[in-house]
């Protein structure tokens, strides 16, 4: 099973390609079956990957059997295994949700979802900076297609902005790559990290410029202020399971900051060590504040959830800027929690909107929900989790983030911002919940009842939250180990070297 490392990339790739063949084009059920089978295989391989990485070894996969750092290398460690599993679980739930009919509301939903996963997993697994760019593009182009799924003006408009900004971002990424290659002469992140300590002073400055560009690019992906512009509209307009799936997209940006900046500008990077932390810190906190304000301001539920995603991205990056292992571990845990819960909220918003007639998910009085009781319970659970109230994972995550701040200044800044934002989110969510569920204006009309698979998808996503608390100890322990492993850079030149 030496090839297991690459499964998370190849399984969706092959599934996606097969889904385009004529026999599958003709039949909805076959498409769904194949899509599901692909996800199942993916889930198995993600679990296997996690199990494999739990042994503590960093698995390299030398593509084309070329020695590192010349060929492209995949790196499977605990961090990437966690994220791969996260996105796979998320995808399974989104896929499940989409079976209620959303997947057929436009062409190519199933293959695009698979390709998106391929891109995301590629970004998580690759140890090559240019390959990372390629996978970024894979995930972006799939996300463009998915964002437009279902059609409509709002989606088109949001997609236009999303695509434009990301194209700019891609250009910047390439500039950064070129500069780094020119200065370091390599594309393998670990190899670059080895080379970075022996730069001439003039080159250091050029690398600094490149690092700035990279920060911009990852910041754009992670929706860091002021590069967050695309996020609220895109997420709020995407169709439900797509929006839910997108919950992991900002985490890709966070992951890249963690991985790339962690290795390139780690402790042995001489004067470049810790590059960008100050910026991330300020921008992360600002993002949190803006996001919280956005959460309060949001006039419909999906937009509110979109700002919640923004808030979590800000929290993650600000915490990451603290720069120590504990902070990274907390970030990992928080990523798991926030991704799944935000996804559940997106799906819930859709279910709620579907039963409220013309007012949809707008936060105004509307007709009573057909299934107020189950939806209400799920909403309360999700809200508690996202606000960071016990007994769900949010509070553990929040406490851990807070504990990550250990010096006076970071405590003052992070805690006050984090807690203030929590309060705003609480206010907003209680307002939203009481409006949606309690402020009933018109008479009940028989609306479309939510499908069982939809409930199942939301339930599964939300189930993760209590599980993360109940089995918090092993999960957190794993996060700590992963963070520690991330700090420790493998010598890639020793792998299959000439």
């Amino acid at each position: 099973m030496q090839h297991a490392v690459i499964f998370p990339i190849l399984v969706p790739l092959i599934t996606g390609a097969l889904l385009l063949l004529p026999p599958l084009q003709a039949s909805v059920n076959k498409r769904r079956a194949l899509g599901g089978l692909g996800l199942l295989l993916l889930l198995l391989s993600a679990c296997y990957g996690l199990w494999q990485s739990a042994g503590g070894v960093q698995n390299f996969y030398l593509l084309g059997n070329w020695p590192a750092p010349f060929g492209i290398v995949l790196l499977q460690d605990k961090v990437s295994a966690i994220f791969v599993l996260l996105s796979t679980v998320l995808a399974c739930c989104c896929w499940l949700y989409s079976l209620a009919g959303e997947d057929e509301r436009g062409a190519y939903f199933q293959p695009l979802l698979q390709f998106l996963l391929m891109g995301i997993h590629g970004a998580f697994l690759t140890a090559d900076l240019f390959n990372l760019f390629v996978f970024f593009e894979v995930l972006l182009i799939s996300s463009y297609g998915l964002l437009l799924h279902g059609g409509g003006k709002g989606r088109t408009k949001a997609a236009l902005h999303y695509v434009l900004l990301n194209l700019l971002g891609s250009a910047l990424f390439l500039l950064a790559l070129a500069l780094l290659y020119a200065m370091l002469g390599s594309l393998n992140m670990q190899d670059m990290a080895l080379r970075i300590s022996s730069l001439a002073p003039q080159q250091v400055l050029i690398v600094k410029a490149a690092a700035g560009l990279l920060l911009l690019v990852f910041g754009l992906k992670a929706a860091l202020l002021p590069l967050h512009f695309w996020l609220p509209a895109a997420y709020a307009n995407a169709s439900a399971s797509v929006a839910a799936m997108f919950a992991v997209m900002t985490k890709v940006g966070v992951y890249c900051v963690m991985r790339v900046f962690g290795s390139l500008f780690g402790d042995n990077a001489a004067e470049l060590a810790g590059f960008g932390r100050d910026l991330l810190w300020i921008a992360g906190l600002a993002t949190m504040l803006l996001a919280a304000v956005g959460v309060v301001a949001a006039q419909h539920l999906k937009l509110l959830v979109a700002y919640l995603v923004l808030l979590s991205a800000g929290s993650l990056l600000a915490t990451l800027a603290l720069g120590h292992t504990g902070a990274v571990a907390a970030v990992l845990y928080y990523s798991l929690h926030s991704t799944l819960v935000a996804a559940a909220l997106f799906l819930l918003a859709d279910l709620i909107a579907a039963q409220r007639g013309t007012v949809q998910d707008r936060l105004v009085a509307g007709r009573p929900l057909q299934q107020a009781w189950p939806l209400g319970v799920l909403f309360v659970i999700a809200a508690l989790a996202v606000v960071g109230m016990p007994p769900l994972s949010g509070f553990v995550a929040k406490i851990w983030l807070m504990q990550a701040a250990t010096d006076l200044h970071s405590r003052i800044a992070l805690w006050s911002v984090l807690l203030f934002c929590s309060l705003l989110v609480l206010i907003a969510l209680t307002r939203a919940g009481s409006t949606l569920f309690w402020r009933v204006k018109a008479q009940a009309v028989t609306a479309q009842r939510a499908d069982a698979v939809q409930f199942a998808a939301v339930f599964l996503l939300l189930l993760a939250s209590p599980l993360l608390v109940l089995f918090g100890e092993p999960v957190m322990q794993f996060c700590v180990e992963a963070a520690t492993q991330l700090q420790f850079l493998p010598n890639v030149r020793a792998v299959g070297g000439p």
Binding site: H3, V134, F135, L187, G212, L216, A297, V396, R431
Partner: protein, 932 residues
């Protein structure tokens, strides 16, 4: 000590149980629910012996040690007392609620929430870990939110619940910060450890912060001034909820917290001052406003605020006995206030109103209830022989023995007396205005006694008022002393619980209060008139207004920042580029590096000039779109030539072929877009953009120069050395593409394929929008498929295919490859579309483009997978040379199969995009009259 665990968990089980058993008959349901806390009580009581002998019972399970959160239970005198209150009063409330709730109310839901709350409350008081305590603390907020908003159809209930949650959760967040800080200072969150670190904490610089944060938590929860406003509005809750939460439990959680951390936090000037002042103010404010409430429950709510202030004040006084008095009053207040709330509930239930201006003279209709309520009120007023009197006496005594405010300390007993006068007055009002004072006005039903068992809880509580009042030592002596030990962290001070301590100042104060209260009540009219002068909006509206204004602010802020303008954010991004790249450049001593420069030649200069001029011309002609398209084609051509000049033939080929497809694409797009655009940028806007553009250009150009003049040792030599021997090709660029970095290429063709799919998606169902004439208003020409073009394009197709094959096969060794070959094929096919139209091509083409994409990707992937058969990683290449008779040496390489995948994907994607776009444009073509 897993009994501790059961005590906590049983109510949770009850909550789960009741959700499952929601179809049960109401009485059975109530009984079944009551069984759980009853059992918990049975489990708790046996530990009394141990507790009274000074033991502390613990139960600990490792939970999340990484953040210091363990499941840790801690039963000492204080928690025993509170648990007892919670369980006993909880049981009474369950019984009471059985009769209180109407048939429409979901009893199961009510009990589920109530039990959840009980679980949370028990968790708070039994917590042995601060983080865990916070966990339950927040759970009380949540469950109380659910309980207050039980009648969610009423706006007041929703708003009241939200307000309560907002205030208490805000406090909870502060408390969390306090606890985490405390944990970081003391190194643990375990009570048993933390409570021993008093000195370390109080000498720490952050002690004031910790204190402030913890007090914020406690004060919001216990409705201390200025956070008291949520409590009266929480009266929208069903009365059993008030009887439980707002007398004995939830609001006491803050008090409990103060008591719990008393050994750790108290003893400092800061503590005394902050707690005393908050308590004193709350005591006065609550007592004063209670008098003016017309709502029965409103009166009780303000009275509760006042009593909570009293207890807080006691905890702030610098004597040990004050703490004992505080605990004592916690018990007494719980007892009499719970019974009073129940009375209010009964009255509400039987009269349909809580407005004291309407309900009068109930003595006639419900004498038993009235008697009970009057006794409880008397206890609240501090009438001797009742429990309220005792603790109030102790309170008065302690106000006389403190020195918290220094030279102003005499104010405290004075103000305490004033508050007591008001307390007597509002208690008197409760009795007189409800049970006497003439006949009821405009009630919807004729009042009568409640069902027998609805009164039982009240009877029990009132009996306790009397019993404790008369035999205090016997009833609660041990309880109190052990609780006091827990609070003080040391042996309890000497005190005596007795009815009669002789003639002393406290007694005088009591008498004064009673007399003054009666006088005040009798003359209340004047005071009411005076107070009416300050008529204010109710807190709930003020709070909602503030919130509404805040939301509006947030909206305008969000709208101002996230204004939906692409230009702003693109601009910002570029400003960041300028800053992040420009700043390091400014530090650079010289851009020039160590690499020897190539000599300049005229041709390159001419080419560069053409390129730059064309680029600028593109910008200048941007409003005549066709023209700018022509201009940018020149740029593309020159870039390709530059690639040729600087030794990159592969790039030139690719750039050229991509260029053509892009132009075709843009032409198709122009059909939909307006051919000309109106000017939209103001001059200022333009100048700013120009400056930004120049800046970014200069920065990127400088970086390019700095980069170009730097010599670096790269990994490229490896590729040059191994391309032939390891990759089997002499065109190193191509070998990199299909072999060394074949994985990139696989991703790249996937991108292309996905783009085509996405485009197909966008094109299906695109609304019609196109122009019937060109930019100058000319109608379109008639000749849709010029003859000459048609014939030539047909002739070119086989030639182009041949060239594709040629380019494809030579790619591995010479410039070329699958990508360029694919584009040539695609362009040749596009030419067929251009020359003869979709209707001509479509029937002649048997293959689906999406299938081509799929086959292409699969072909490349399977080629990569094939290496698994040889136990090599994905994409490991294989090649060999074969000597064939007649033919000579032939090279076969897996890279060719890979490249075939590239070829197929490129053809499929390009054609899927362009052919479908073409179809769309034609579908919406307005039909000319002449043509039909």
């Amino acid at each position: 000590m897993s009994t501790l665990l059961w005590i906590v968990v049983l109510p949770l089980l009850a909550s789960i149980f009741v959700t499952a058993a929601r179809q049960w008959q109401r009485s059975y349901l109530a009984l079944a629910v009551a069984a759980f806390p009853a059992l918990a009580l049975l489990l708790l009581l046996p530990s009394a012996a141990a507790i009274f002998s000074g033991e502390v019972l613990r139960y600990q399970v490792q939970w999340l040690p990484l953040i210091g959160l363990n499941f840790s239970l801690h039963l000492d005198g204080l928690s025993f007392l509170f648990s007892l209150l919670i369980l006993c009063i909880g049981l009474l409330v369950i019984l009471y609620a059985r009769y209180y709730l109407s048939a429409q109310d979901s009893m199961a839901r009510f009990y589920a929430f109530l039990m959840l709350f009980m679980f949370a409350m028990l968790g708070v008081v039994l917590s042995g870990n601060l983080l865990q305590m916070w966990f339950f603390w927040e759970l009380t907020s949540i469950s109380s939110f659910l309980l207050i908003s039980f009648w969610s159809q009423q706006g007041d209930a929703r708003k009241g619940a939200r307000m309560a949650l907002t205030v208490t959760a805000a406090g909870g967040l502060a408390l969390l910060a306090g606890i985490v800080l405390l944990g970081q200072i003391t190194g643990s969150y375990e009570l048993s450890v933390v409570l021993t670190q008093t000195e370390q904490l109080q000498q720490h610089a952050a002690y004031p912060v910790v204190l402030a944060l913890v007090l914020l938590g406690a004060f919001t929860k216990s409705a201390q001034f200025p956070f008291h406003f949520w409590l009266p509005n929480a009266m929208a809750a069903p009365t059993p909820v008030s009887a439980y939460l707002h007398s004995a439990t939830m609001v006491k959680a803050g008090i409990f917290l103060l008591a719990r951390l008393y050994p750790l936090l108290s003893g400092t000037e800061l503590w005394f001052l902050a707690v005393t002042l908050a308590g004193l103010t709350t005591l006065l404010v609550g007592a004063y406003f209670a008098l003016f409430q017309h709502d029965l429950k409103g009166l009780l709510a303000y009275s509760t605020i006042s009593h909570l202030g009293l207890i807080t004040l006691l905890l702030g006084l610098d004597t040990d006995l004050a703490a004992v008095a505080a605990i004592f009053h916690v018990i007494n207040h719980a007892i009499f206030k719970a019974s009073l709330f129940m009375a209010a509930g009964i009255i509400d239930h039987e009269t349909g109103s809580r407005d004291m201006r309407k309900i009068n003279g109930l003595w006639k209709y419900m004498p038993v209830t009235a008697t009970l309520a009057m006794v409880a009120s008397a206890s609240m007023a501090g009438v001797p022989l009742l429990n309220g009197f005792l603790s109030k006496e102790m309170f008065f005594t302690q106000t006389l023995h403190q020195g918290v405010l220094g030279s102003l300390s005499w104010l405290i007993p004075l103000l305490a007396t004033v508050a007591a006068i008001f307390a007597v007055a509002y208690s008197a009002r409760f009795i007189h205005d409800v049970f006497f004072n003439g006949e009821p006005i405009g009630l919807s039903k004729t009042p009568h006694e409640p069902p027998r068992y609805m009164r039982v809880p009240m009877e029990i509580l009132v009996a306790l008022c009397v019993l404790v009042g008369v035999f205090p030592q016997w009833f609660i002596g041990d309880l109190l002393s052990q609780a006091a030990v827990a609070v003080l962290g040391s042996a309890a001070p000497e005190y005596s619980l007795a009815l009669w301590h002789g003639l002393n100042i406290p007694l005088l104060m009591s008498v004064l209060a009673l007399a003054g209260g009666i006088v005040l009540y009798i003359n209340r009219k004047h005071l009411f008139v005076f107070q009416a002068g300050f008529a204010e909006q109710p807190a709930i509206y003020r709070f909602e207004n503030v919130l509404q204004r805040f939301v509006q602010r947030c909206r305008s802020l969000t709208a101002a920042i996230d204004n939906g303008r692409y230009q702003r954010f693109a601009g910002l991004m570029l400003v960041l580029v300028l800053w992040l790249c420009g700043a390091p450049l400014l530090e650079l001593a010289s851009l020039q590096g160590n690499r020897p420069a190539l000599p300049l030649d005229m041709l390159v200069l001419a080419g560069a000039a053409i390129l730059c001029i064309a680029a600028i011309a593109t910008v200048l002609t941007i409003r005549q779109r066709l023209l700018s398209l022509v201009m940018i084609s020149v740029v593309g051509l020159m870039v390709s030539l530059a690639f040729v000049r600087f030794s990159a033939p592969d790039l030139a080929l690719t750039q050229l072929s991509v260029e053509v497809v892009t132009v075709v694409l843009l032409m198709l797009a122009l059909y939909f877009l307006p051919h000309k655009s109106v000017k939209q940028s103001s001059p200022g806007h333009l100048v700013r953009d120009l400056a930004l553009a120049t800046g970014v250009g200069v920065v990127i150009g400088s970086l390019a120069f700095a980069m170009l003049t730097q010599q670096t040792d790269t990994i490229s030599d490896y590729f040059l050395q191994n391309a032939k021997t390891g990759g089997g090709g002499t065109n190193v660029v191509n070998v990199i593409l299909v072999d060394f970095r074949g994985f990139d290429t696989l991703g790249e063709i996937t991108v292309l394929g996905i783009a085509a799919l996405g485009i197909f998606k966008m094109l299906t169902g695109i609304p019609r929008f196109m122009s019937g004439a060109d930019g100058e208003g000319r109608r379109w020409a008639l000749d849709s498929h010029p003859l000459l073009l048609a014939v030539v394009s047909q002739a070119l197709l086989p030639l182009a295919l041949l060239v594709s094959v040629y380019i494809f096969f030579r790619g591995h060794n010479m410039p070329g490859g699958g990508f360029v070959a694919g584009l040539i094929t695609a362009v040749a096919m596009i030419l067929q579309y251009v020359a003869q139209g979709v209707d001509w091509v479509k029937p002649r083409l048997k293959v689906e483009y999406s299938t081509l994409i799929s086959l292409g990707i699969l072909c490349a992937t399977i080629t990569g997978l094939a290496s698994w058969l040889f136990e090599r990683p994905f994409l490991t290449s294989w090649f060999d040379y074969f000597d064939l008779p007649l033919v000579g040496t032939v090279e076969l390489a897996s890279a060719m199969a890979f490249d075939l995948g590239v070829y197929l994907t490129v053809v499929g994607s390009t054609l899927l995009i362009l052919a479908n776009l073409g179809k769309v444009t034609t579908r919406y073509r307005p039909v000319h009259k002449e043509q039909s």
